[in-house]
Point group: C2
Chain length 287, copies 2
Amino acid sequence: MIIDKLYKKVSEMGNVCVGLDSDLSYIPFSYYRWFERDEEALFNYNKRIIDETIDVAACYKVQIAYYEALGIMGLRVYKNTVAYIRSLGAIVIGDVKRGDIKDTAKKYAKAHFEGEFEVDFITVNPYMGLDSLDPYLNYVENDEKGIFTLVRTSNMGAHDIQFLEDKSGKKVYDIVGEKVQKLGEKYMGESGYSSIGGVMGLTHKEEAKEIRERLNKTFFLVPGYGAQGGKAEDVSLLLKNGNGAVVNSSRGILLAYKKEENRGLDFAKCARYEAIKMRDEIIKASR
Amino acid sequence: MIIDKLYKKVSEMGNVCVGLDSDLSYIPFSYYRWFERDEEALFNYNKRIIDETIDVAACYKVQIAYYEALGIMGLRVYKNTVAYIRSLGAIVIGDVKRGDIKDTAKKYAKAHFEGEFEVDFITVNPYMGLDSLDPYLNYVENDEKGIFTLVRTSNMGAHDIQFLEDKSGKKVYDIVGEKVQKLGEKYMGESGYSSIGGVMGLTHKEEAKEIRERLNKTFFLVPGYGAQGGKAEDVSLLLKNGNGAVVNSSRGILLAYKKEENRGLDFAKCARYEAIKMRDEIIKASR
C-alpha cells in the first residue's frame, strides 16, 4: 500500500510536503536568463527545488492548474516534473481535484495513474458522490496508488456546502469524512492508515483534535501552511505521534529567497532552509 | 453575454449539444487506417463529426478527461478540437469540472478562458464554495465567457452529498442551485438567462417542472441523453418555450454508426442523422 510508503517517509523526514505550484514569475531572473525557452527554465527551476529538498520532504505536491495555464508547454513541464520526482524514488501527489462519473472518471484515473502524467496520489472532489471514486479503487488495490478526497477546506466559501448541517446537526464535511474513512477501510496499510486519504484544512483547536480522533484511519493532506497562514501548532493537532498527515507549503518554500534575510542567496538553498525550518517547527509543536 | 449567443443558437438549431467524448476506439477502422498517427486520426474524426453537425448542434461539449488520458498528444487534440469549433463561430463547452480556490482557481480560469485551451463555457465543481468561482467572473463579465456549475447529477452516488437535507428539509443541490442562480443575477443576458448556468441531471416529472420554475434564470446543461438513458419527455420538462437548456449526447451520436440499421454508412453522416433525430424528438416532446 502506497500509504505505508508515505507513512515511512514521514517517520524519516517529517511532515513537509513541498508544493510545486510553480509560476514563471517565481523564477529569479538571474536563473531564468540562463535558459532559451520558458519550458526549460520552469522544469529546471522545479528540478533544483526538488534536488535541494529531496532529503527533507516527505513528498511533493504538484498543482496541475499552474501548468494547465501554460497550455501544452506547461503540461510537458508537469509531466517531466512528476516523472523526475518518481525517478528519485520520492512520492508525488498530483493535485488535480478531478471529479466525474463512470467512463469519464475512468479516463481521469487512466490519465493520472498510468502513462505520461503518472503520479502516486491524486486529489479528488467528492461532490458527485462516492461512486465517482470507483474507477480509482482498482489502482489503489493493485498498483500502489492512493487518493486524497476533499473533505474540509479553510476558505470562507467552505460554508456554502461543506458546513451545511443535516437534520441531526451533522455537517456535510463530517458526513463526507466518515464516508471516505469507511470506503478507505478496504484499503488499509500496515501503518494503520488507508490509501484513501482526505484533504483537511486547518481549523480551530477543539475541532482539529476531535477530527483526528474520529477519522483515526484517514491520512490527511493539509494545505495552507505558511503563505496561507497555517501554523505549526494548528498542524500538530492533526497528527498522531507525529504522523498521519503531510502538510503542504508552496509559495512559502518556493519564494523563500525573496525574504529580506535571504537576500543574495540561491533560491533553491533558500527553499531547502525554509523546508527544514518548517519541518522542525512542526516536530517541535507536536512533541 | 455569451448566454444570449447560446440562447439564439438554441432558438435556431434546437437543444442538441454534441458531446465529443472521443476515444480512439470509437474511430471506425476504415477511417482510422488513413492516418499515420493517432493524433491526426482523432482530430480528423472530431472534425468530421463537427462538420456534419454544425447546422444541427446548438453547441459542442468536449470532455477533457478523454484527452488527458492520452497525455500530451491527447491534449493537443483537445486544443485543436476546441479551436476548430470556435473557428466556425460555434459555441464550445470545455467539460473540465475544475474546482479550486484563490490563485489556483485563477490559473484554471486562465487555462480555459485564455490561450491554447480557450473555450466559451467551462463546467465547474462548487464543493469548495462559491468563492471558488470568483476568478471566472471577471471573464464572464468582460470576455463573453460563461460557466456551468454542477448542481445535481443523476448517478446513484448523487445521494451521498447532493441529496443530503438541511434542518429545514432543503437538499444540498437545491441550496447550491439557489446560490448559483443568485450569483448569476449579476450576469444576466437579454434572453432572461444568466451566463452562470447549472449542470442539471434528468429527474422525475414533478421535480423537473419544479426545478425549471424555481431556477427560472438558470440555463441548464443537461447530460445523459441517449446512451445514459435520458429521454425527450424528461428533457422537455427542463425547457421553457423550447429554450433554457442544452442537452448533451456523446456516445449516442459518436457511435450511431454502430447501430444495425446504419451498417455500411459513413460514421459522420450517422452522427448527423442521430443529432437531427434527437433534436426533433426534443422539439416534439416540448410542444
